[in-house]
Amino acid sequence: MITKSRINRLQIVGLILPGLLVFGMFTIYPIVRLFWMSLCDMSFASMLVQPYTGLTNYREVFGDTTFWTVFANSIVYTLVTVPGQMALGLFIAILLNGIRRFSVTFRVINYLPVVTSWVIASLVFRYVFNTEGLLNYFLWKILGITSGNVRWLDTRWSGLSVAMILGIWKGIGWNMVIFLAALQQVPAELYEAAEMDGCSAWKKFVNITIPAIRGTILFALIELTIGGFNVFTSIKMITGGRPAHQTDTLLTWMYYKAFSTGRFGYAAALSFVMALSLGLLAIVQFRMMRNRDV
């Protein structure tokens, strides 16, 4: 036990202290503060005096029709983009897993959207989907699929669709890489055995691949769900919430309430509701994936 005496507790504390301080101050403190703010009447007018008002902010949030609109928007965005990216990412990963040449090239190209910043990608999509834009011309005048310019950015669901297409486009590469890594760890013997039994490709996929990469699927599911609720920049850049907040999501609406109308208490309550829902969702997802194991 002489060796252990070298392990100086003070030095250990010294090592984690800088990180803990920064993390505690700039992440933990704001989370705690967020909760407190949500219970106070905080607005531009009353920034200095912050009377405790209990659950008033929460009541206001839940009683607000716009809240339910943006909540639905966030849920739809997540429900569409998460499976969308995962399915397409997995599909590409399976394609890539079976080829030898150019695998790296494809991987690099497909990953490029991930490293493109949200601001830039959103502006590109806005430009492409603008009512007088290239896409409408292509669909209408060249392919003849539509009979006029589609007003992509002007209505609730079409505006959200553009943001969702962007979300999927930008997320496929990430899914592809992590699924490819997972696929490469599935033992080849399993497939060989299944082939002996004459299993179809689909059966192999369902019975071997999916169970083997379950851990990765769970990881992706949780990460992407958080990402889905975190959508902000693309909405702000593409529709800006127009028309009349119909395309706002939880975060853009929260931001609007805080920084355009000064209702910080409302925004804090909204944020807190959102953090709680995400926590619950993560637990549910975790449970679901584990239960299937049994």
Binding site: I16, T27, Y29, I92, P113, T116, M254, F264
Partner: protein, 283 residues
């Protein structure tokens, strides 16, 4: 046997075909962005619209305009400073935490790690209101350096999580040997742990660089002065001007700001993939 190889050949062709189609769809938006940045602003609403500009209309005027603005270099420099500072500080603090949490496991350290991981569930932007208040109290509003601690705090959980896996894999024997040689904790961290974990530190740093380089909501909230803006804010600002948008300028600036990121990505591709997969397979 023969039929099987034919089938394999078919399936390979199909794979390449699908991948090729996918690749085209993936790159179209980016190609269109580049092609738009190469045409004069007046040609943006030309009819019929073109995917590629007419050859004779090809121009570098947008790039010339952007590159003649000293503001662009300033914004670029701001982004570099903030991103590099963020990755350096995150690597230092994160690797130290990862070392302690990975190599000195006890009840408190395990709890601390779990706590850090749980906070990753909360999207960063939800905390923007209290963080703004905090920045106000600390006098960090409209201060370029004020961005850094917030960015570092955001990436610490991920950084710690990624590096901890590597730290755990350092064989206990090496550490034991170091203790016997009379090394103390700091020495072991600096001389043994950090070098061994450097691939993980490198790969997580690339991610952190991307995060800081493209961060928009926070910087847009706290930074006011044009001379303190980072690139994403500068680009968004170019776009936001009221009743007309000079897409040519917006996109040429975007292309210029993407160059470092794409370069880093292509050069460090190996680290990228490593980092990503380490996280997912373990998780």
């Amino acid at each position: 046997m023969k039929s099987k190889s034919v089938a394999n050949f078919h399936s390979a062709v199909l794979r390449y075909l699908l991948l090729a189609i996918g690749t085209v769809i993936f790159t179209l938006p980016m190609v269109y962005m580049i092609s738009t940045s190469l045409r004069p602003n007046g040609a943006l609403y030309e009819y019929p619209p073109r995917f590629f500009p007419r050859w004779e209309a090809l121009t570098l005027e947008n790039y010339e305009y952007i590159l003649h603005q000293s503001k662009f270099y300033l914004n670029f420099l701001n982004s570099v400073l903030v991103s590099v500072s963020t990755i350096v500080l995150a690597a230092l603090t994160g690797s130290a935490m990862a070392f302690v949490l990975g190599k000195f496991q006890s009840r408190p350290t395990r709890l601390l790690f779990a706590f850090i991981i749980i906070t990753m569930i909360i999207p960063g932007t939800t905390m923007i209101v209290p963080q703004f208040e905090l920045a106000t109290m600390l006098g960090m509003v409209n201060v370029l350096w004020g961005l850094i601690p917030f960015y570092v705090a955001w990436v610490i959980p991920f950084t710690t999580f990624m590096i901890k896996g590597f730290m755990e894999n350092i064989p206990d024997e090496i550490m034991e040997a170091a203790w016997i040689d009379g090394a103390d904790v700091w020495t072991v961290y600096i001389r043994i742990a950090t070098p061994l974990a450097s691939p993980a530190i490198a790969s997580v740093s690339i991610f952190n660089f991307l995060t800081a380089w493209e961060e928009y909501p926070w910087a847009n909230t706290v930074i006011n002065d044009n001379s303190k803006r980072t690139l994403p804010i500068a680009i968004a600002g170019f776009f936001g001007q009221h009743q007309f948008t000079q897409w040519g300028y917006v996109f040429s600036m975007s292309v210029l700001s993407l160059i470092p990121v794409v370069l880093i990505f292509i050069l460090c591709q190996k680290f990228f993939i490593q980092g990503l997969t380490a996280g997912s397979v373990k998780g």
